[in-house]
């Protein structure tokens, strides 16, 4: 899998970038050997609770997003510790390259989530997927992170650990929730309102948005 360079430019805050930056990002993206890996599990959903796990989701985001869903998918995706090592090695050599690499990593882990979503859709023909959302989006608490990772056995399966301050390592790791419903789902996550970065996003401060 190769990082989507337009996305990389977006992570770098470079808009469309310029030709030389675009070419540099392409060259750096080619060097990356790591691919995103993911694991997911499907659970029953009763209201906002997952009885198999004894876990209850809370808040408006979860109730809006999962309205009418019978099942829920917990997903974790990571680019792995070897990418972290690559990023550390790059930082010791060339910070300029490192920030591009960092952007490539962000793009790749997102692409991994999209691949997982496509696989899930194939596994559940006739069911509709809600948008993917993550702890920290809207009012879905970040404190859900350890529980999601534990439910997925993510340390064994993917090598993801979460710190007491709720940061995940490897750096390029994502957890997400996707609802499954037998009726079509409208897109709900679009625009800044749902983004965890909405308070601090440089683009938003400048009156622009990233297009998602």
């Amino acid at each position: 899998m190769e990082a989507d360079i337009r996305e990389v430019m977006r992570y770098l805050g470079a808009g469309k970038g310029d030709d030389s930056l675009f070419a540099a990002a392409q060259a750096i993206a080619c060097e990356i050997k790591e691919v995103p890996r993911y694991t997911y599990r499907v659970f029953h959903l009763k209201g906002l609770s997952l009885p198999e796990l004894g876990l209850a989701l809370t808040g408006n985001t979860a109730s809006k997003m999962l309205d009418g869903c019978e099942k829920v998918v917990l997903l974790a995706c990571t680019l792995g510790l070897e990418f972290d090592a690559r990023l550390r090695a790059a930082q010791a050599r060339d910070m300029s390259k490192a920030v591009i690499l960092d952007g490539c990593g962000s793009a790749l882990v997102e692409q991994g989530c999209e691949e997982a979503e496509r696989e899930i859709a194939l596994r559940f023909p006739g069911m509709y997927l809600t948008d993917r959302f993550s702890p920290g989006y809207g009012d879905l608490p970040l404190s859900l992170q350890p529980q999601i990772l534990q439910a997925l056995d993510a340390q064994r399966r993917l090598g993801i650990v979460v710190s007491p301050s709720l940061l995940m390592t490897p750096a390029k790791s994502v957890t997400a929730i996707i609802g499954l419903s037998s009726v079509p789902q409208m897109a709900r996550i679009r625009g800044c309102e749902y983004c965890s970065m909405k308070e601090t996003c440089a683009l938003r401060k400048g009156g622009k948005h990233c297009g998602l």
Partner: protein, 785 residues
């Protein structure tokens, strides 16, 4: 133990968690607390495994460490003693052995995470002591993905108990663990550290683990363990895809490969163990050849000495003013730069010497080792005569290192060789003793033989003894070059040992030194030198090695040689561009090599300060303005900063040569606050500030408020930069600001990071909000005006 570890096939148990879930336990919570709340449930599982044929059962202590138990109100010893007691009761009246089971701590060690090696060791040691006290028969360290963590646990087990220790790690189908550890690195390192059996558990089914098990078998003489999963889980319902019969059938090829200790991990149950036992009945262990061949490694780079391997010599202060200055200033980033350059130039192993008057090697050598292994993947050769420093460094080294060096003196060998043995390192023996360097090849070979015998008597295997026949300066002792070469040939051919030789000294005092050195290097390789110590940044030397490998046949189909010179043609074209470029252009375009060259030229007609003030800073400012107006993007801003860094290196070297004071525009500390473990943002700011000439004390990531305060006081700093990435760590930023304000002389504080806003900065009382690296420079300019 009731069975012979080296002779017999041994059956372990299967999964605990899988069986508990089958018996209705919900996932989640801390499973180790069951030792206190429901020992009967655990006992029933142990009994089923014993009845199924398990000769060793793992007590339910996998995560019973102080990190995971914190906040439960229960202690490590309490949980472990209950667990071992219950397992013992289940096995009463049988020959079953009970293992203290030790899994990963749940937090990552440095450099991936923030847990120090020493803290990990202490956490494991607490478990080992409790397990031994409770009467465990052996220790099993399992499911490790970080060789460093496995090492901390193994050292703790060896130092706190006399029990046998098994170590199994979890590998992916790629042949590496999540941290990139190779099977060969794992096997060689753990055997060297004294494990009693090693192998794999978890992650995959026996079929997919087979190739990795073969690789381990080829790299160890220890018994090998396979404790695989029941195949792969279905993501939808978590069900594993191998039934007991197909699991047992897939395990048999592992026996053929030489594995002798078997069990099951996730998805297995007593039925799997029963079926496995039946399948293995009447089978005999398969004998396998003992691995031979010298080897060193880091966790991620296995380096078998199966041909010529270059040892980089540049991490050494002798005769290097700039390096000495870096040591005195504790500038570990400079030392890392020296290491990185050698790795990129093609060195295979890096020699690390930090011995210099005024430097405490016992403190410095392990610090440098930790720094280097954070960003360099090569194995290290620790170069010191100080036994205490060597032990401190070998302890924190992640892999199998080499030690440079011992010599033929008995006291030296008595002091160093036990440490080499304990940490499973290779050792370089210099062919000299109390009476100096023998003038004849025969004399040197005799000392080599003596060193080999001493090493063998300490239990160090022959392949770990490397001999340095010593290079003497040919302009001073012209007859000695051929004696050295003769000694190399004899040591290689007659003693069958690996040979090490620092080649650079040969040409001291002569013109066109590199010609003589290169010629000597080639002759030495032809005589049997396998590990030249040299400067890999000297192209002539690396070219000679590349050509030698073609002629010796090591470079299969001349692939590497061709690749080396295919790359070379590309560099020629870009180098020719310097001619018409000015220094400020080179900086603005981010061309570090060109900028350095042009700076050197500029210093011929101008002094250092003028260069900084009239060319460097204005060029960086121009790029900075471009960045602010959206014409230049972050990677380009950083390229320019790094080109400036190249110029600063030239300036520093020039000043160090003259023995003058460095150009410094003010010192500040920068830190990612406590709890925050991702630090690329902070590193970006650091890069840019440094290249404006500020001295940046990088306190690192996850830095407690107290550490920031003490750094400020110790170095009398006037500016502190703090970064936070997550809303969860903002309180730590606030607390750090509060404590800094309470200092007798509070510094100016700037804060930044993804979640920090100007309003928040004002609210917590920071003096400045820094939106990005560029603003940090503007703030520094104001503070240090």
């Amino acid at each position: 133990m009731g069975f012979d570890l080296k002779q017999d096939i041994i059956i372990l148990d299967g999964a605990m968690g899988t069986v508990l879930q089958q018996r209705g336990l919900k996932p989640g919570g801390i499973g180790e607390l069951l030792n206190l709340t429901d020992p009967e449930l655990l006992k029933s599982v142990y009994r089923d495994y014993i009845q199924a044929g398990s000769q060793i059962i793992y007590a339910n202590t996998f995560g019973a460490n102080a990190l995971k138990l914190s906040g439960t109100g229960h202690g490590v010893e309490e949980v472990i003693s209950a667990a071992i007691r219950t397992a013992r009761e289940a096995g009463a009246g049988t020959e079953t052995k009970v293992a203290l089971d030790v899994g990963p701590l749940g937090q990552l060690l440095e450099p991936m995470g923030t847990l120090t090696f020493e803290r990990a060791y202490d956490l494991f040691r607490e478990m080992m002591e409790a397990g031994a006290k409770a009467g465990a028969d052996l220790v099993v360290i399992e499911t490790m993905t970080d060789l460093y963590e496995a090492k901390a646990a193994l050292l703790a087990a060896k130092e706190a108990t006399d029990l046998p220790v098994f170590v199994t790690m979890s590998f992916e189908a790629s042949g590496r663990t999540f941290t990139g550890c190779t099977a060969a690195s794992m096997a060689r390192t753990l055997e060297g550290l004294g494990a009693d059996a090693i192998g794999l558990n978890c992650s995959l089914g026996p079929d997919l683990l087979l190739p990795i098990l073969k690789e381990i078998c080829a790299n160890t003489s220890l018994p090998v363990i396979a404790k695989p999963n029941a195949g792969l889980p279905d993501p939808v319902d978590g069900h594993y895809d191998m039934d007991p019969e197909s699991f047992a059938a897939a395990v048999l090829p592992c026996l053929e490969a030489g594995v002798t200790i078997f069990g099951g991990c996730c998805g297995t149950s007593p039925d799997y163990i029963r079926t496995l036992k039946k399948a293995l009945e009447g089978k005999a262990p398969v004998k396998r050849p003992h691995p031979v061949g010298a080897f060193v490694c880091s966790s991620v780079t296995a380096c078998p000495i199966s041909g010529v391997r270059v040892i980089g010599e540049r991490i050494n202060p002798t005769g290097k003013k700039r390096f000495q200055q870096a040591l005195q200033e504790q500038d570990l980033d400079y030392i890392l730069d020296v290491a990185v350059a050698q790795e990129d130039a093609g060195a295979d192993i890096l020699d690390v010497n930090v011995g210099y008057p005024g430097i405490d090697e016992v403190e410095m050598l392990p610090r440098v080792v930790k720094k280097l292994q954070s960003a360099v993947s090569l194995p290290l050769q620790l170069d010191s005569t100080n036994a205490e420093a060597l032990e401190a460094a070998l302890r924190v080294y992640n892999g199998k290192a080499a030690v440079n060096s011992v010599n033929g003196e008995q006291e030296v060998m008595d002091r160093i060789l036990p440490i080499v043995k304990k940490y499973g390192a290779a050792v370089v023996g210099l062919t000299l003793d109390k009476s100096g360097i023998p003038q004849s090849a025969e004399g040197r070979v005799a000392i080599a033989r003596h060193i080999l015998d001493a090493a063998l008597s300490h239990g160090i295997p022959k392949e770990d003894v490397w001999i340095d026949c010593l290079t003497l300066t040919v302009s001073a002792q012209q007859d000695q070059a051929k004696e050295t070469l003769k000694a190399v040939r004899t040591v290689r051919e007659e003693l069958g040992l690996q040979t090490v030789l620092g080649v650079s000294n040969i040409s001291f005092g002569l013109p066109a030194r590199s010609l003589v050195t290169q010629n000597f290097l080639i002759q030495a390789m032809a005589a049997g030198l396998t590990m030249p110590i040299l400067n890999p940044n000297q192209k002539e030397m690396m070219d000679a090695v590349a050509a030698y490998k073609v002629l010796s046949g090591e470079d299969d189909q001349c692939r590497n040689y061709i690749a080396r010179f295919a790359d070379a043609s590309a560099t020629v074209t870009s180098a020719s561009s310097t001619a018409s470029m000015t220094l400020d252009e080179a900086i603005m375009r981010g061309l570090k090599t060109d900028a350095s060259k042009l700076a050197q030229l500029a210093l011929e007609s101008s002094d250092e300060l003028t260069l900084v003030e009239s060319i460097l800073i204005p060029a960086l400012d121009k790029v900075g303005i471009g960045y602010e107006t959206g014409k230049v993007f972050l990677p380009q801003l950083l390229s320019a900063a790094q080109a400036a860094q190249g110029v600063f290196e030239v300036i520093r070297a020039s000043i160090a040569k003259k023995g003058g004071e460095a150009v410094k525009k003010g010192a500040l500390a920068i830190a990612t606050v406590q709890g925050d473990i991702h630090d690329i943002g902070k590193n970006i700011v650091k890069t840019v500030l440094e290249n404006y000439g500020y001295e940046v004390r990088d306190l690192g990531k996850d830095v407690p408020p107290e550490a920031v305060c003490s750094a400020v006081q110790e170095h009398d700093l006037r500016l502190v930069g703090l970064s936070a990435l997550m809303t969860t760590t903002l309180p730590a930023m606030e607390e750090t600001v509060r404590q800094l304000h309470a200092l007798p002389v509070p510094p100016t504080i700037m804060v930044g990071g993804a979640v920090v806003t100007a309003e928040y900065a004002a609210k917590i009382g920071a003096d400045y909000y820094s939106r990005d690296a560029r603003e940090a420079v503007e703030i520094a300019k104001k503070v240090f005006c």
